[in-house]
Amino acid sequence: MNRLKLRAPSFWTMTVIVLTALVILFLVYPFASLFLKSFFHPNTGDVSLVNYKKFFDTPYYFNTLKRSLLVSTVTTVLAVLLGVPIAYITSRYNVWGKPVINVMIILSMLSPPFIGAYSWILLLGRNGFITNLMEKIGITMPAIYGFYGMVLVFTLKLFPYVYLYVSGALGSIDSSLEEAAESLGMNKFRRMLTVTFPVIMPTISAAALVVFMTSMADFGTPLLIGEGYKVLPVVVYEEYMSDIGGDTIIASTLSTIIVLCAVVVLFLQKAYVSRRNYRMSFLSWPGARSSLPSMCWTGRAGCPSAPTSCQPCTIPSPRRAGASSASRMKTVLGRRCTPIATRRRAAGLRRSA
C-alpha cells in the first residue's frame, strides 16, 4: 500500500498544470464559446449545421470567403515575387544604402496596416494628392478602392516579411553550397534556381504563410480601402457591431471559417516544410529554433560574409509558425490590434537596435 502513497506534484508537473489551465481559460474558452455558437440552430437551439448551410447558400456571405481567399492568394504571390528578388539582390550584391533600406523596411512593418492603407488613400484616393495632380494634366487615375487597392496595400505592407525572412536565410545559407554549384559549372542564374532557392524554400513558404494569414485576417485595410469589395473580417465586424439586423450567430460562423482557412493553410505549409526538413550542417539549428526576423536582420548586418559560423536563423520552426497562427486567431473578432507576432518582432528589433 505504501507504494501508492500520494506525493506532492513536482514543480514541473505544477507548471504544466498551471499553463494548461491558463491556455484553457484564456484561449480555448473564449474561442470555444464563439465557435460552438455557430453549431447550434439559431431558433431551436439544437446542434445543427444550418448556419453553415446558410453561409454557403447566401452569395452575400459565400462571396466574402472567395474574395478573402483571392485577395490573400494574390497578395502572397506578389509579396513573394517582390520580396525574394529584393532580398537576393541586397544580400548578394553591394547595394548602396543597404542599411537605410533595411531600416525603412522594418519601420514600415512597425505601423499598423491600415495606416499604410490610409496613406495610399491620401495619395491615390478620390481626393488624393496624385489623383488631383494627374487630373490637372488631364489624366484620370484608376480607382484605388476595391480589390486592386487592397492587393496593392497588402503587398507593399507585407512583402517586408518575405524580405526579412529570405534575407536571413540567404545570409545563413552555407556559401560553399553555391560555390560547389559554381565549380560544377552552373552559371549564376541556373545556380540560383537549382540550389539557392530550393534550399531556402522552407523559409520562403513560412514567409508566404505569414503574408497569407496576415492579409486574410486584416480588418483595417479592407475596411478603409475595400469599400464595396467586402472580405470576411469586414462582414464579421458588421454582423457583430451592427445595431440593426446584426446576426452574431452568422458572425461566429464566419469567424470559424476564417480560422478553418488559417488552419488548413498552416497545415499545408507544415506538411510542405516537413518534407524538406534538411537536417544538415548548413543551417544552425539552435538559431533556427528562435527564428525571429529581427535576428535575421542582426545576423545579416553583423556577419554578411561569414555564412557558416554565425547564422542566427533561417527556417522558422513549426512552433514559430504555430504562434503566429494563434495570434491570427485572436484577430478574428474584427477589433484588430497589432498581432502578437508583430509586437514580439518589434520588441526584438528594439532590443537588437
Binding site: 552555407d174 560553399s176 553550397l177 560555390e179 560547389a180 554549384a181 559554381e182 565549380s183 560544377l184 559549372g185 552552373m186 552559371n187 549564376k188 541556373r190 545556380r191 537549382t194 540550389v195 530550393p198 534550399v199 524554400m201 524538406r276 534538411y278 537536417r279 544538415m280 550542417s281 548548413f282 557558416t308
Partner: protein, 358 residues
C-alpha cells in the same frame, strides 16, 4: 588530360593585410600536390584563387600554359571538394552527383552511365536514391568526391576534406583518396593543416607560413631536411638548440652546441646558429663530460617508444625518443643522462636575429 598548373607570383590582399604574398608554384601532370600550413597561412585563400572564388590581385595562374585569371569559376572545369562537403541537401545522392553533368547538358543516357560509374568508383552505389541527411560523414565525403570527379575535371581541388571526420575514418578516407587519385591520374591540389595527412598522401608538399611558401619538396625531403626552423617545427617535432659556428681552414666548421658540446660539421658556417634535432635523432647515455647533459623530468611509455623530457644544464627542455626495440631499460625520472646527437641527421640554420625557437 590533366593540366600542368603554374602559379606565378600570386598576391591576394584584404584591405591592408596581404593574405598571399607572391607565391610561385609549379604542379606537374597527375601530381598529388599538398599545400600545408597552420590556419591563417593563406593556403585556403590560394586554393580559392585557383578555384576562381577569390580574385587574383597580382600575378597569374596558368592551366596548361593558359592564363585563367579572368575565367569565371564555372568555366574553369575544376572539381572541388569542400571542408563541409557542401552536399546539396535538397537532392538525392544521384542528383547531387549528376549536378555537374546537368550543368554541362549531358545527354540523359550518358549522364546516368557516368553518374553510376562515379558512384561505383566511390563505392556508394547503394545510396544513390537516399537523401544526404541519411548518410554518415564518411559517406557524404565520398559523395562530394564522386560529384567532383564525375565532371572529369582538369584539376581536383580539396580543401581540408578530412577535417570533420574522426581519426580512424580519416586514415581510411585518405588512403581511399590516394588510391583513386593514382587510379585516375588526376592533378590534385590538396590543402590541409594536418602534417601527418600531408606526409601520407602527397607526391610533393608546399609548406606555407604567413602568406609565403617556406619549402617545396617530397614528404621525405620536408621531414628529413626542413629548409627553415618553421618547417622543422611544423612538421613533426624538432628540438631547437643554440650554437656558435666557426669555419675551419681545412674545410668544414666547428660548432659548439648549447655551450656544452663541440662537434665538427661539413659546410661553412659562421656565427650564431640554430640547431634542429628530432627526438628520434638523439641518443641517451649515462652522463659524460663534454656532452649535452641533463636530467630526465618526464618519461612517457608509449608502447613502441619511450618519450623523455630532459632539462639540459642550461635550463633548456628537449624531447628524446628511445625505441623499445633498441633498449630494454626504461630510465627513471631524475636520472642524469647525456644526449648524443646524430650528426648526420642534424639540421643547421643561421640565426638571423630571431633567436632559437622554443
Amino acid at each position: 588530360m590533366s593540366h600542368h598548373v603554374v602559379i606565378n607570383n600570386v598576391v591576394k590582399k584584404y584591405g591592408d593585410t596581404t593574405a598571399v604574398k607572391g607565391i610561385q608554384l609549379s604542379i606537374g601532370k597527375g601530381e598529388f600536390f599538398t599545400i600545408l600550413g597552420p590556419s591563417g597561412c593563406g593556403k585556403t585563400t590560394l586554393l580559392r584563387m585557383i578555384a576562381g572564388f577569390n580574385s587574383i590581385d597580382e600575378g597569374e595562374i596558368l592551366f596548361d600554359g593558359k592564363r585563367i585569371n579572368d575565367v569565371p569559376a564555372h568555366l574553369r572545369n575544376i572539381g572541388m571538394v569542400f571542408q563541409n562537403y557542401a552536399i546539396f541537401p535538397h537532392m538525392s545522392i544521384f542528383k547531387n552527383v549528376a549536378y555537374g553533368l546537368k550543368a554541362r547538358k549531358a545527354p540523359k543516357q550518358e549522364l546516368a552511365a557516368r553518374v553510376n560509374e562515379a558512384l561505383e568508383l566511390m563505392r556508394i552505389s547503394q545510396y544513390r536514391d537516399r537523401d544526404p541527411s541519411q548518410l554518415s560523414g564518411g559517406q557524404q565525403q565520398r559523395v562530394a568526391l564522386a560529384r567532383a570527379l564525375v565532371i572529369r575535371p582538369v584539376i581536383l581541388l580539396m580543401d581540408e576534406p578530412l577535417s570533420s571526420l574522426d581519426a580512424k575514418l580519416r586514415v581510411e578516407m585518405r588512403n581511399a583518396i590516394k588510391k583513386i587519385q593514382r587510379e585516375l591520374g588526376i592533378t590534385t591540389i590538396y590543402v590541409t593543416h594536418d602534417q601527418e595527412e600531408a606526409l601520407a598522401v602527397s607526391d610533393r608538399i608546399a609548406v606555407m607560413n604567413q602568406g609565403r611558401v617556406e619549402q617545396i619538396g617530397t614528404p621525405q625531403d620536408i621531414y628529413m631536411k626542413p629548409a627553415t626552423p618553421f618547417v622543422a617545427g611544423f612538421i613533426g617535432t624538432t628540438n631547437f638548440l643554440s650554437g656558435v659556428a666557426e669555419p675551419q681552414p681545412g674545410g668544414g666548421s666547428v660548432l659548439r652546441i648549447e655551450n656544452a658540446k663541440t662537434v665538427t660539421v661539413p659546410g661553412t658556417w659562421r656565427g650564431r646558429m640554430i640547431v634542429g634535432l628530432r627526438p628520434e635523432h638523439l641518443h641517451l647515455t649515462e652522463a659524460r663530460e663534454g656532452e649535452l647533459t641533463g636530467t630526465i623530468t618526464l618519461a612517457t611509455f608509449l608502447g613502441d617508444f619511450i618519450n623523455y623530457e630532459i632539462e639540459l644544464a642550461g635550463g633548456k627542455m628537449i624531447e628524446v625518443n628511445e625505441y623499445t626495440k633498441d633498449t630494454q631499460q626504461i630510465r627513471m625520472v631524475g636520472e642524469r643522462v647525456s644526449v648524443l646527437p646524430d650528426l648526420a641527421r642534424m639540421n643547421l640554420y643561421p640565426d638571423e636575429g630571431g633567436g632559437v625557437p622554443a
